[in-house]
């Protein structure tokens, strides 16, 4: 099978992806970020920017997801009633959000800012990581963060359940990846 042909075919199908329809009422911001935004940006980088449609899709989705961060403390809704947001309804970040869903947005949002030159995406996730940083040594297991975070009141220290597995793993995975994010090229393209 010629995978180049498949890639081109998949690119052609991007036009059919319509972010104005949705099979869900509540959008999982983390899942949407890692699968879609990550997918577009990875393919854009791997093809060395040859396909602008990939970046267009990433920007289109980035603009949508950015609205999930429109809360009093600018922490994102993780399970997002995006239709309410479309109508301009006020949102408040959840008092219980999974650590992976909050802490695994950095890679995609940082890269989107790097490519587009628009700092707002990096700003949105750096605000989150600053809180991770500030409270890291105050958790019940200092150094690690618990599974449930109160993103409404910015209390990351209350929960007593810790894991490196599901619900947390991708957050720890993203930390070193983002740290080396200015070396993207060597990271992905050998």
């Amino acid at each position: 099978m010629d995978m180049t042909e498949d890639f081109e075919e998949a690119l052609g199908a991007l036009d059919k992806i319509d972010f104005t329809t949705c099979s869900l009422d509540t959008l999982n911001v983390f899942e949407t970020t890692i699968r879609y935004l990550g997918g577009f940006l990875a393919a854009y980088d791997l093809s060395e920017g040859k396909y602008p449609s990939l970046l267009d899709k990433a920007k289109e989705l980035g603009e949508m997801l950015y609205v999930a961060f429109d809360t009093p403390n600018h922490f994102p809704m993780t399970r997002w009633h995006f239709k309410d947001a479309m109508m301009g309804k006020k949102q408040v970040a959840h008092d219980a959000a999974l650590v992976a869903e909050i802490g695994s947005l950095t890679l995609e949002f940082t890269r989107l800012s790097q490519i587009t030159g628009d700092p707002k995406y990096f700003d949105a996730v750096q605000r989150i990581m600053n809180v991770f940083d500030a409270q890291q040594d105050d958790t019940k297991l200092p150094g690690l963060w618990p599974v449930m975070l109160n993103t409404r009141d910015l209390n990351f220290t209350a929960d007593t359940f810790f894991t490196l597995g599901g619900m947390a793993d991708s957050m720890y995975e993203y930390l070193p990846k983002v740290t080396t994010s200015s070396t993207w090229h060597s990271l992905y393209i050998c």
């Binding site: 998949a10 700092p119 080396t180 200015s182």
Partner: protein, 199 residues
Amino acid sequence: MDIRTSRAIVSFVHCFPSSLCFYSNSDQLGADDLIMLRPRSLPIVLLVLLLVTLVYYRNSFYTNRDASAISWQEPPPDYKVPAGFDWPKVKANYPVTSHIPLPSSPAQAIPRIQHTSTPPTGDVAVLRKHRLNTVKAEFVHAWSGYKKHAWLQDEVAPLSGGVHNPFGGWAATLVDSLGRPLHTCSYSPVSLITTKIHF
């Protein structure tokens, strides 16, 4: 008790050799099964009950916290955004007044933790080539199934050939896999990443 728990019990019980069999040969455990118990089975019964309890509570614990659990609800009907709607034009209720800038200094190097491998030779090279081809074949198989049964849907259901749309119905598999052909198989502008991975 949910279906996962029931299945876990059934598969656990199936692990026992037939000499220890204390349940009927049906796929479901029921009240009848308990009638067949003999006294010497008591320690086993207690063990099973303990395991059942553990499995049950583990499952309910994860169900409450599982990130993907919500995604698997039956999706509501499609929703159409009003014509002319544009996300960048949504007025912020809590405008961001200043942005934290991207770091301008180069990233700090982090210590290498990976083993330094050398290209394999002889039988090892053959074995690794075989493994590499197996991975490629699996990718092609999965991709073909998606194309045939679930093109532009989020996921193919691999046994039924049906589809799932737990991620908004925006072709999640397609988008998530966009970069994969580029580094799973040869694609001219990009070096073959797989040639650098030694299994």
